[in-house]
Structure formats: structure tokens, C-alpha cells
Amino acid sequence: MSAMTDSALQAAPTTKARGYWSTVARRITRDKVSMACAFILVLIFASALLAPWLHLADPYQGSMIRRLRHIGTPGYPLGTDELGRDMLARLIDGGRLSLIVGILPVVLAFVIGTSLGLVAGYVGGKLNTAIMRTVDVFYAFPSVLLAIAISGALGAGIVNSIVSLTIVFVPQITRVAESVTTGVRNMDFVEAARASGAGPFTIMRVHMLGNVLGPIFVYATGLISVSMILAAGLSFLGLGTKPPEPEWGLMLNTLRTAIYVNPWVAALPGAMIFAVSICFNLLSDGMRSAMDIRN
């Protein structure tokens, strides 16, 4: 009898059931669109990061006799800007500031918003009301207007534009985090953790965080697209980076005067913003459907 049980145990399934996250990862690597977007993003990030080692032209070195060369001019594959600086070098080098100013606000808002939403959703009661009603106030402003109001009041500058965009995104992420947390809070495993004597901090960190991070992360990835457009938009208005620093929004602004001379060179920085923005949007969509295991 006991020998039989042993052999039955031996014959038990040898393959471990695939975990949730590894299933999600497998699904997303099979999605061609998501992978193509990830590849483009990696390319843009890597070139921005490695710009000093790519032996490009000096992105700050201008020349009055080489201004506004067309795309495809020998030596200047993407032409030159209004001060005769190499566009390819400036687009690649400009990726660094553009990506930082576009992505950092979402990262900061992700950390702050998730904490606020988690606490509001888990503790509930008066604290929830206080946090969520404050969030409502920021929802009374269209996000572009709020970003410009804060940036305009604080004055131009990279730090100020990062601060203002973070303030714009914190309420949005807090709302998502709060609603996800409220959904998870009343589940049995949280009840079980509480019954076994876990304190609120442990429950939030160990038992809830892992379950709420996924949806918030997907939402934040989609926000990067908006953030890139807004951050470059602030620079485009003159509220972000200052010249001569290369940054896509600012480049678009300074090249605006050149559209009658060399229109397509003037449009290039916007194409970079568009590429990053659409890739993050498609990636966010891909992650969302990969995490929706039910279908």
C-alpha cells in the first residue's frame, strides 16, 4: 500500500505549473508589435546613452556657412540646423534630455502615487477621503493647463518642468492605485494575512503591493507617451530646456523659423517625439492584453 503511494507520488507531474508573470512574459515576447516597439525604444535609449562614444559630430559646434543643409548632404546625413549644427548628432544627443524630462516625472509620480493610493485604499475612512478629495481638485484642471500653469508660475527650467509634470501625474496614478487596492483589500488572502497577525505595513508591502503593481505599471507606461509629448511641449513653448542644449521640443521651437527654407529638417525632432510616444503607447497596450490572462 505504502509502496503504491510512493510510486504514485513519483509519477506526479514533473513539470511545474507556469507562474503568472512568466506566462505574461511569454505572451508579450510572442506579440510582434510589442517586440518591435521594445526594439525601437532600446535603440533610441542605447544611442542616447552611448552618444559620446559614437564618434558623431559635435552637437554644439555651429557654422554660419553650413546652415540649414538638406537631408542627405554628404557629411550631414540628416542636414544641419539653423546654426549649422549637425542634426543627426543633435537628435541622438538630444534624446538624453528629452527622455529624462519625459520619463522621470512618470517614475516619480509612480512612486508617490502608488504609495498614496495604496495607503488611501488600504486604510480607508477619513484618510481615504482626505487623499482622494485632494486628488479631485487636480482633476478639475485639464492636464495641459495644469502643467503649463505650474511651469509658467515657477518659471522656465528643466527641474521646474519635471516638478510640474510630476504634480500632473500623481493624482492620476493615485486614483488608479486606490481603485485597484480597494479591489484587492477585501480578498481572502489579505484577510488570512490579517488573521495570522500581520501588521498593516507588512500586509501592504508583502501581500498587496505585488497584486496592485501590475495594473498601475501598465497605466504608467501609457502615461509616458503623454509625458513625452507634454515635456517636449513645455520646451517647445520655452518653459523647459534652455538653448543651446539639444532637446527635441526646444529644437522643434528654434527650427520653426526655418520651415520656409528647409521644412523637413525642421520637422525631424517631432518625428523622434512621435516615435517614442507611439512605441510606449503600443507597448502599454501589449502589456495590458498580455496580463489579461482570461482571454
Binding site: 479631485d136 485639464p142 509658467g152 518653459l239 522643434l252 517631432g270 512621435f274 507611439i278 497596450d285
Partner: protein
């Protein structure tokens, strides 16, 4: 219905007060003394002290807020430092141009968005759906100020069909409903319509898909209704949510017009905001943002009420 409207209006009051508070504090987060902005460069000490008392900058902040709010409630938002004219009349004149642009853009964006969304949702996973979804995602990912530049390059610089900037021939301020003036509206309106088009398409597509997969649609088909009749039911069920999203988008177009108005030099509230920021005209900045935010709150209120009017399920909850 009346009780619902009354309750919604009561909810709006604290929101309006907090919006006013945020606008008031905007001036106080600006680096430096707010007095500097209203002071002539060669002002004497006495004049500075005099103006400080006149503007109330020497009082405690809560008192200042109370006074400012009281004046704002009476329609006095102060005077523009650059022009000396009352802020409210400056803002209102500009807002009418922005409303015109937003309504024109809404007509384009919502029509296309509803059309694409319904078709894509109805023919899910076909090539029509893929095309519509791609257009929608491109729409929401486009830096709209860049799209404006590209349209200017194509239609003004290369083809010379439409004007690149302004809101009327010869830079005149007066608007008229003729082609000479409407030509100036075409490019800004198309540029503004792209984001709402994308968002409405995505929303309506998802709604249509959800509704079509519900049991009652099966029942309608089983009972022998024609597909056009089924479609009518789908539209009716999608309407409340679609309406809410469109209302919100109209609000975003009104409040977020600064980038597009800057690209096209369209003389609306966005361009006014732009000049207020760069001339450090703080009363004008504060007033414009307050008026635009209040428009947005009012629009949200109207959308909520309209939604309740066409969807009986909302009033009951």
C-alpha cells in the same frame, strides 16, 4: 432628476473653491516677491510700500485669499500689467476664439471618432478594425504641435493652399463667417481634432465590442431583429459613456489649446496665456487659468447632468 441636479451642483461648490485656491496660490509659488511684477523698475521705497498696501501683499495669506475671492466673485480679476485693461474682459474676448476652434475641432474629431469606433467595434479583428485602431493610436501618440507644423509645411509652405498663421486676412481682429476667414480655421481645427478623434475611436470601439458580446444582443438576434435594429440598440447603450468621454475631450481642447494656438498664432486663450507667462503678467496668468478651469468644471457638470438625462440607471444609484 431635479434632486440629482441639485446634489451635483452642491458637490461642485467645494471643487470651485479649491480651484480658486490653487489659482490664488499660483502667484505665490512664483519665485521672488509678487510685488516685483507690478512695480516699475525705478520705483522708490515709498512707492513700493504704497503699492504693497494697495495690493494687500502685506496682509496674511488667508486674508489675501478671502479678499481676492470676494473680488473675483464680483467679476474683478484685477488688471493686466502689460495692457492695463481688466483681466476678465481680456480673457473673455480670447476665450470666444478658443471656443470657436474647439467646437470646429470637436465636429471633425467626434464625427470621425464615432464613425471609426463603431465600425472597428462592429467588425472586430478584421482589416477595417486594424486600420481604424492604428489611426486611433497614431492620433493619441502624435505631438499635436508637431502635426500642426507638418500641416503648415505641406499645405502652406509647399502647396500654398491655406494660411499658416493668424485668424483673418491682414491680421485684423474681426471675425466673419466667410471663406476668407474660415480658411484660417482649417489647419488649427484639424490639428486640434486628432487627439479627441483617437480617444473617441478607442472608447467607442471598446464599448461596441463589450455591448455586442452581451447576452441581450444574442437575444435580440434570436428574436429575429434585423442587424440595423441590433445596431440601434448598440448605439443606445454606448451613448452615455461616449457622451461623457466627448464632454471631457471638449474640456481638454478648451483648456489645453496653448500649444496649438502658439503654433498657429490663433488669438485665443492659449495665446493669451503664453504672452502672460513670458511677460510675467501674473494677474493675467492667474485670471486666464481660473476662467479656463471654471469652464472645465462647468462642462463636467453639464456632462454629468446630460448623462443622467439619457441614462436612467445613473439617477437610481
Amino acid at each position: 432628476m431635479f434632486a440629482y441636479i441639485a446634489r451635483r451642483i452642491v458637490y461642485v461648490i467645494p471643487i470651485v473653491l479649491s480651484v480658486a485656491l490653487v489659482c490664488f496660490l499660483l502667484v505665490h509659488i512664483t519665485p521672488g516677491d509678487p510685488l516685483v511684477a507690478v512695480l516699475p523698475a525705478d520705483a522708490s521705497q515709498e512707492l513700493a510700500a504704497q503699492l504693497r498696501t494697495a495690493y494687500g501683499f502685506d496682509r496674511p495669506l488667508p486674508v489675501q485669499f478671502g479678499l481676492w475671492l470676494w473680488r473675483a466673485l464680483h467679476g474683478d480679476l484685477g488688471s493686466s500689467i502689460a495692457t492695463g485693461r481688466p483681466v476678465l474682459s481680456e480673457v473673455m474676448r480670447a476665450v470666444s476664439n478658443t471656443v470657436m476652434l474647439a467646437v470646429a475641432a470637436a465636429m471633425i474629431g467626434f464625427t470621425l471618432g464615432l464613425l471609426f469606433g463603431l465600425i472597428a467595434g462592429y467588425f472586430r479583428d478584421t482589416w477595417v478594425d486594424k486600420v481604424a485602431t492604428s489611426v486611433a493610436i497614431a492620433g493619441v501618440s502624435l505631438p499635436h504641435y508637431w502635426l500642426g507644423m507638418v500641416l503648415v509645411i505641406i499645405f502652406s509652405v509647399q502647396l500654398n493652399w491655406l494660411p499658416a498663421v493668424g485668424a483673418g486676412p491682414g491680421g485684423s481682429g474681426a471675425w466673419a463667417w466667410d471663406w476668407e476667414h474660415l480658411r484660417y480655421l482649417v489647419l488649427p481645427a484639424i490639428t486640434t481634432s486628432v487627439i479627441p478623434m483617437g480617444i473617441v475611436t478607442r472608447t467607442v470601439r471598446a464599448l461596441t465590442g463589450d455591448i455586442l458580446s452581451q447576452d441581450f444582443v444574442e437575444a435580440l438576434r434570436a428574436k429575429g431583429l434585423r442587424e440595423t435594429e441590433v445596431f440601434r440598440h448598440v448605439v443606445k447603450n454606448a451613448a452615455p459613456t461616449a457622451l461623457a468621454v466627448m464632454g471631457l475631450q471638449l474640456g481638454y481642447m478648451l483648456g489645453g489649446s496653448i500649444l496649438i494656438e502658439t503654433v498657429f498664432s490663433w488669438p485665443g486663450s492659449g495665446l493669451l496665456l503664453n504672452s502672460a507667462i513670458f511677460q510675467r503678467d501674473l494677474p493675467l496668468l492667474q485670471g486666464t487659468i481660473l476662467v479656463l478651469a471654471l469652464f472645465f468644471v462647468l462642462l463636467n457638470l453639464l456632462v454629468d447632468i446630460a448623462q443622467a438625462a439619457i441614462d436612467p440607471r445613473i439617477k437610481r444609484s
